[in-house]
Symmetry: C2
Subunit: 406 residues, 2 copies
Amino acid sequence: MYEPMLAGLRILDFSRALAGPTCTRMLVEMGAEIIKVEAAPGGDLTRHTAKFRDNSDRSFYYVQQNRGKKSVCLDVRKPEGLALAHELVKHVDVVVENFKPGVIAEMGMGFEALKAIKPDIILCSISALGQSGPLAGKPGYDYIAQAYAGVTSMIGDPDQPPYVPLLGLGDVSTGVHGALAILAALRHRDRTGRGQHLDVGLLDVYYHCHEMNVITHSGTQGRVSPQRAGRHLTYMCPAGVFRASGGRDITIMAFLHHWKDLCAAMQRPDLAADPTLDSDPKRLERRAEVIAIIETWLQGFADPAEAIAILEAHNVPCAPVLSVAESMVEPHLVQRGTIRTIDDPLAGSFEVPGFPLRFSDFPEPLPLTAPTLGQHNDDVLTGLLGKSEEDVARLRAAGVLLERNV
Amino acid sequence: MYEPMLAGLRILDFSRALAGPTCTRMLVEMGAEIIKVEAAPGGDLTRHTAKFRDNSDRSFYYVQQNRGKKSVCLDVRKPEGLALAHELVKHVDVVVENFKPGVIAEMGMGFEALKAIKPDIILCSISALGQSGPLAGKPGYDYIAQAYAGVTSMIGDPDQPPYVPLLGLGDVSTGVHGALAILAALRHRDRTGRGQHLDVGLLDVYYHCHEMNVITHSGTQGRVSPQRAGRHLTYMCPAGVFRASGGRDITIMAFLHHWKDLCAAMQRPDLAADPTLDSDPKRLERRAEVIAIIETWLQGFADPAEAIAILEAHNVPCAPVLSVAESMVEPHLVQRGTIRTIDDPLAGSFEVPGFPLRFSDFPEPLPLTAPTLGQHNDDVLTGLLGKSEEDVARLRAAGVLLERNV
């Protein structure tokens, strides 16, 4: 076997919660060394959530996001704590943070301060609305950026308030964007010797997901301005979520050439031959009628799986709308490792999503364990910074270093 | 100035539509050279959509996704076309494709075939449900993967069918995941000399966005199984979309310590002092009541902007739910470059989303122009492959190469 993909990279990670830890989660799963600095006394905020086992104070959320990272728990408000953080910077390639913009500089760890310590340092700052612009200072979360990005407005029915997806689509994607920016900046550093400050915001990440909406408004000079429009696409048809029998739903994408396949699946050669339905624009004009035809057909099956089998036999792109519980036992996800079981020394074994990137040279995920709070204080201070055992004991006694078995 | 971030990287791109072209769009914006192979005679499918100017056959969609790439238009079903594609492989670092799994191998361009041509080649295969597992062969689109991932099921009201967000959240994020996998594999190749086959699927990308849902089901052994639950989070409160006056909506995230700030903004010290509302679990038990209090307060302002100003003055995380049209003129997005105007030689000037990664050494985006179909046939064949003008003319006459000014 070979060394892991990103062997030799070392990253100092001040981030907490979701977007920042996702960034370093992506990197640690590929073999980078992540030194996660957690603020004494509580550590990462997420250590206090999702404690699902009565006999354990261990957070499932923390474990999921931080497997394989090293935890150093420091009080950086104490001068000695800050000095240790500065010393660590000398030994790493990259620093990651997701404080509110400006906070890392106030802490004495802004890009200029870091450059003075290590001239080729890369600082990746992750935030909701970005490091620049009039709203940069606002407190932000995923849904705040989603609202400003015009994304929330595209979910739901036009005559009702919109919905938010109940999962961290923006936070997680932003973490991945941050990891991409870091590897690009490292490639540049390796060639030029120059470090950089990276600015990755959820707002920008959400915004470039508008593959049609911005250009449609711009291209039509506002004559067509995208709005939420229910459960179906507005520029191709049929494409969306259809109600089947038993309160179940099926996603069907039967635009373009798929329409004829759908008509065959429904045994409706009359529809396939109908010249008033032979293109997406024509079907869009009769969208409600097209949807009703499909839903009536679907509801004729007592078991929605029968309808899906027929659609699949005709190569119509379709999928059952699975609940989270169903997704966790769907054979495709299980066999592919999209869902996986991990073993945690404190919380026991449980399921988490798989690593989303697959590399032919590395078919098996690395065996990673989430750290307890401050678990690597000793290792990192003596091993990397060359402190003595006595130094470490003194810092611990002074409340600069902290450890807890959580 | 320095050479662009990814100068020196050359990528052969067979992908079309959205996820694959997003992957190479990320790389070209950082200075990689992308040779986009488009299938004769039509080219990328998206060339046929979003032609918003009456006097032009130019697709706004294509332009947005393909600025800066070189277009080679080839008929790879002809042996000479396939031979040219194989020759190109010798000169690139990476090949990107997003055909249905198996198709690239049938075309004679699978990983083994590519390795025989260039031993350290990296092939990035992007798909909906991945290259492995029982469902890998299904035709797939964003919403198909979203349905299998349990994501669609988390959007909407529990007693109604779910909604799909009307934009390409999964496709775009998957392209970014692909770009990350490529840069990681390049780092590995540079160190070890080994190429790799990368498998990046929308399903896996969507799945690891479940920051709480999978572990909640798993951790509670199914006692709590996440379901869609309307416009508000189910594990913190208040957090979601609130209806203000005039049919406008405001996203407010006022859980944890933000609750007291919200109470102050609403001038409700009684709520802040209420011991039955002093934690998220307690507020969740009275969620409907909490939401009603906030919405009643919001609806007391004729102009929702007044409510937002008061919330901001009290540091409550909040945002107006902007339409796409509003987002395009919001000063923060404009000043930050989250929305930008591009000039296209055929379509004229129009707005597209900005590049979501910011690098301090490269404050200005590269000046990129989308190619016409086959625009770089000559350049690439004579410049890179060393063909003569006569060879090119012969291949053009034989229908192996094609150019059109679209």
